[in-house]
Amino acid sequence: MNWPHKDIIAVQDLTSAEIGLILDMASSFKEISRRDIKKVPTLRGKTVVLLFYEASTRTRLSFEIAAKRLSADTTALSASGSSFSKGETIMDAAYNVMAMSPDCIIIRYPYAGVPKKMAELLPCSVINAGDGYHEHPTQALLDMYSMKERFGRLEGLKVAIVGDIMHSRVARSNVYGLIKMGAQVVLVAPKTLLPPGVETWGADVMTEFDPVIPEVDAIMMLRVQKERLHERFYPDSREYSIFYGLNKRRVDMMKEGAVIMHPGPMNRGVEITYDAADSARSIILDQVENGVAIRMTLLYLSMGGSANVD
């Protein structure tokens, strides 16, 4: 299979075969990170620019480590230290970066659609590291990888995604991907945090958490966006955590072998308690480790690597 995409913008754009290929290839990249010398020359001479116009710890670090382990040169730029704070438009910034001949731009941006536009206008590869409420494809791929690693398959799995679905690009990308891979998804949230048209996504939708818990193989908790509290989507953190938080009582209701996931950053005590986050069921740190492998795979594929690595 020849990899047909210059860019990685949205899980919506990927076929199940392509997702399957990424997940298969990621294992060999994961192995590199477990070596003593964690570096291969695959992308030597390639330049990767990270444009982060929104706060990020995990994603940015993960991309940077992934690129470096493949021997690419990386440069990172964040909104506060760039001309963005001086009012330069994102496309002007992109053209300026392009003039320095990068092979790949990784972009995180607060508004939807911008990575897509960049991908259309720039000759280099563009990887979406999260755009507005649109998509976060690399997160969904690492989540799927982590589930597949644990269960050996995605088909037939039942996955709950709980919390602020409305403003979550992670939820969207996971729903699109998991359904394509034959998993069943149930979204759990108060009605104020369910997006319009959610019933067309192909997922089940529940407003009550407890009945869902014993049914599912994985529970993915979404971060409560505290900055949205003033918008009154729910009364306060106390009520939210009682109805939608993952705590010891709920962890005990989970079926055998079921796992707990979180894309981070966690608000301990709000959507997830200590004993849930740190329980034996948690694969939250596996997600982080796998993130590097998935991003190595995507960097490799989008910068012209052959899909036949073996």
Binding site: A112, G113, V114, K117, D131, P196, V198
Partner: protein, 422 residues
């Protein structure tokens, strides 16, 4: 001047006939069905063309004073002329706002001296469009306004809206209302739907429009005063207005060509030229607008011509301003609705001529002896592509760029003078 051999549409009389028109001293001095032998003055050959009264667009933004880099009275009026629009009503959201007679006089005088078409200002309902204090409607009327509106800034307080309608009626000024509940539409950039969720864009619920349409219709009903709802975009909005008219409430409304031809699907590529307020809605809403045109619920077609500079529209979808230009595509769009929806062309023509003239209480839309010689020659068969080069506005923000239309304005006459011809 003679216009000879065309097919003359007179929406005032409802007649279509072949014939000649004679113009003298800026007015139509005679209409001659079947033709006339007169040869004095310029002879315009209208063989194969439709001869229409100049169109009236009751909703445009000419950005003058204050935002002349987007458009000004001269460039806007040239775009109007090229679109066969001989009268426009320009909205008051300029800088300074047209909320006092000095600004009104500036617009009226500049238009009189330099504009290619008749430019009639609408004044603000409230000072600085603040929704709190009434603007000087009486003085502005004396200076030349023909209507009052806060347009994009819906008056939030229902009591203020009632008082504004009552005060406007004192001076016989029509009130035009842009219906948008600010709370419900806050943050939205496109129609709220499954598509907005999929694109990751915050939505504008149709209910945010319907709520204010209901409110203003109810105030009109309660007070017995007239109100004009501009750019209705929703099925429910049309239903509310249809029922209100049946109940004898003095409500009128207009729709835009873009809401008649496009749906939210046009937003899929995050093209900011598909971002306007109200947003492009669903197909069922579009069909309801057509239905409203067919059964008479919709009184007028108006463009909401809203120029914005390229650098403003080139921003991210979330950040770009709302609005598109529309004057030069008005008649071709009407033609497309006529052809695709089977609505009689004369009925559509009334929505952009005699109907707005009646609502505004102005002259226009008449092609008989004694009327203003505002005339458009329209070639109904010619195919042409709408390109940036064909745009006379300073701004090029149209979702119809690159579209092939059938039917084009070839000659526009205002008060007996040719102001545009191909």
């Amino acid at each position: 001047m003679w216009i000879k051999g065309g097919t003359i549409f007179d929406p005032a009389g409802g007649t279509v006939q072949a014939g000649d028109i004679h113009i003298a001293d800026g007015v139509i001095s005679g209409v001659y069905p079947g033709g006339n032998n007169g040869k004095d003055g310029e002879i315009v050959d209208a063989q194969g063309l439709w001869v229409l009264p100049g169109l009236i667009d009751m909703h445009v933004h000419f950005r003058d004073p204050g935002y002349e880099y987007k458009e000004d009275i001269v460039s806007g009026s040239l775009a109007a002329a090229a679109g066969g629009v001989t009268t426009v009503v320009c909205m008051p959201n300029t800088d300074p706002v047209n909320d006092n007679p000095s600004v009104t006089r500036y617009i009226v005088e500049k238009a009189r001296a330099k504009a290619a078409v008749r430019v009639l200002p609408a004044g603000a309902l409230t000072k600085d469009l603040n929704g709190i204090e009434l603007a000087e409607m009486g003085l502005m009327k004396a200076a030349g306004i023909v209507a009052v509106t806060d347009d994009g800034k819906t008056v939030e307080n229902a009591s203020m809206m009632r008082r504004a309608m009552e005060y406007a009626a004192t001076f016989g000024l029509p009130v035009i209302t842009h219906c948008q509940d600010k709370g419900l539409s806050a943050g939205g950039v496109m129609n709220e739907s499954a598509l907005s969720s999929r694109l990751g864009l915050a939505g504008i619920p149709s209910a945010s429009e319907d709520i204010i349409i209901s409110r203003d219709v109810l105030i009109a009903g309660y007070t017995g005063l007239p109100v004009h709802i501009t750019h209705v975009s929703t099925r429910t909005g049309i239903d509310i207005i249809r029922q209100a008219k049946r109940d004898g409430i003095r409500v009128t409304c207009d729709v835009t060509p873009h809401h008649l031809l496009l749906t939210e699907d046009r937003v899929r590529g995050y093209d900011t030229k598909a971002k306007m307020y109200p947003p492009l809605r669903k197909e069922e809403d579009r069909r309801a607008l057509i239905e409203g045109l067919t059964d008479g619920t919709v009184d007028c077609i108006a463009t909401d011509h809203a120029p914005h500079a390229k650098d403003e529209k080139d921003l991210d979808f979330d950040l770009a301003p709302f609005g598109i230009i529309g004057l030069q595509t008005l008649l071709p769009a009407i033609m497309q609705v006529h052809r695709e929806c089977g609505i009689d062309f004369m009925e559509l023509l009334k929505r952009a001529t005699v109907n707005p003239a009646r609502i505004l209480g102005i002259e226009g839309g008449v092609l008989t002896a004694g009327a203003r010689a505002d005339i458009v020659l329209f070639d109904p068969e010619v195919k042409w592509k709408f390109t940036e080069e064909s745009i006379l506005s300073k701004s090029k923000n149209s979702p119809f760029l690159g579209k092939e239309f059938k039917g084009r304005v070839v000659h526009t006459i205002v008060c007996g003078n040719s102001v545009y011809r191909i």
